[in-house]
Symmetry: C2
Subunit: 302 residues, 2 copies
């Protein structure tokens, strides 16, 4: 079953204390698509500028991502630059230049409107709503968001939340959104806003699924070295949604299929920090992925 | 099989944003003993001042803790005061008055020197070493420490590390001790210092066991409300060591018994933040504990 993702396609310049790379492929839709493509066909919707390299589009296409929804406009591609602290967790944003992304208004091609799996990456909730409106009742819709929208467009965000099946969110965002201080209460509050299920991402500490009637805590795999954690959350989302699409899951299913998706998301996301940009994700094969899944299960089973 | 614990017995004044309590029972040995007592007999070694209430000694004794090793000296009981931030994780220490603890030199009674399970709570490593020297080859020795000793008495700490079976440590302390930035590498470096196994405590994010040939990540239980997290780490240690003592475990055993101890430690520690001081721990019964263990397993099994 196919997945439609709407999000950013960007160029990132990232500095760590030991290295720096300039203007390499980034953006939520890029990470998501490459991660999800190991599980199901992906249709990407986004916008890039005339500076965007054909090689990068080809890279996505070669991994089974249908890039015909990535519009090329006159102007600059969304550019982000950040610098990680020594802990490889804290980071400072140095530059954000929206470029053509500033006027991004995703239009979904008629043929794509019935795509059964929809991932709304972190963009303005009004745009997310617009996409939802364009779609013909997706089988499963999964939403991401961020503190910016929680703080500046809470009403738009509430409207979108009322229409999606799953919210994927960081722990700090879950607290901000609900003004709760316990993850359990925050998840319950979010479920009252609309989504049947909530996935709280905790970076190096893993992720927690709050399901219909169960909770699953999945640890992150323990990497010997972190090169660049940018995009790990979007890669997790890609594996998570990809797994659900491969299983033909719907919101009415039991938690079991969502629990497996948590493992798949965690396993595929573990490759992301092992290289700059999407480099780590390019090392995913069915055999390396299976090895990570085995390792993850061994870390979890009491 | 009995456990000997050497650590602090204290009075704590703790403020949160909603409440404050004054001079209630605290200290690593108190939390550890009450948690461990649900699994195995505990012998506590510590020191208190002449201000220490008999009621508090009775409380420990009534929970099966042999308090005959808690010496009463002229002077003040170790006093600590702290204030938690709104997140109930960050805290500021307001007062530390060592009192009679400043001259604490644990002497182990002859009858107790052959106690098979030894927990060296967070005290000066030279004192930990002195206790190790007094003991007749404990079956299993478990060490706790803190950033203060890692930074100020690294040589003493290394000497002790060379003689214990398990190190229990916070994630930040594991990084500080090894100058590594990956938990996996940090654990490996600690294992090279002596301990066969390392348990990294991550507070609300759970704990990770680095065993002989396996890794187990255990999430913390998700509490609806945190009243006072003080002592949760020592309570975890109590459940962990208690479980090992109940199972008659030795360092040569497979990881299985240590994995179970991780669950027992997590389950018993989950009661601690639910009340001020040791109040939460007093609610532990075999049936409430079993319920938490079931809940924990349900959160873990993929």
């Amino acid at each position: 079953m196919s997945i439609l993702v709407v999000g950013s396609v960007a160029y990132d310049t990232v500095e760590t204390i030991t290295a720096k790379y300039d203007r390499l492929l980034g953006g939520s839709a890029s990470y998501f698509s490459l991660a999800a493509s190991h599980f199901a066909p992906v249709r990407a919707v986004g916008v890039v500028g005339d500076d965007f390299r054909q090689d990068d589009l080809d890279l996505l296409a070669n991994h089974g991502v249908d890039v015909s929804g990535i519009e090329r406009k006159q102007g600059e591609t969304f550019f982000w630059s950040g610098r990680y602290h020594a802990d490889m967790i804290e980071r400072d944003t140095l530059v954000t230049e929206l470029g053509v992304f500033a006027d991004f208004r995703p239009e979904i091609a008629a043929m794509w409107r019935s795509t059964p799996y929809l991932f709304l990456a972190n963009i303005h909730p009004a745009l997310q709503y617009h996409v939802l409106d364009s779609m013909t009742a997706p089988k499963l819709s999964i939403l991401d968001t961020m503190n910016l929208w929680i703080e500046t467009t809470p009403d738009d965000l509430q409207t979108v939340l009322g229409r999606v099946d799953v919210l994927l969110v960081n722990d700090s965002e879950a607290y901000l959104l609900t003004r709760e201080r316990s993850l359990r209460k925050a998840a319950k509050a979010i479920q009252a806003m609309g989504p049947t299920r909530v996935v709280v991402k905790k970076g190096e500490h893993g992720a927690v699924l709050f399901g219909r009637d169960s909770i699953l805590a999945v640890p992150a795999l323990l990497l010997p070295e972190v090169i660049d954690p940018t995009g790990a959350g979007d890669s997790f989302a890609g594996g998570f949604v990809g797994s659900l699409a491969a299983a033909d899951a719907s919101s009415d299913d039991t938690d079991a299929v969502f629990r497996q998706a948590m493992l798949d998301g965690t396993a595929v996301a573990s490759f992301c920090p092992e290289g700059f940009s999407v480099e780590g994700l390019l090392r995913v094969t069915s055999s390396t992925l299976k090895k990570r899944l085995d390792e993850l299960r061994a870390m979890m089973i009491p």
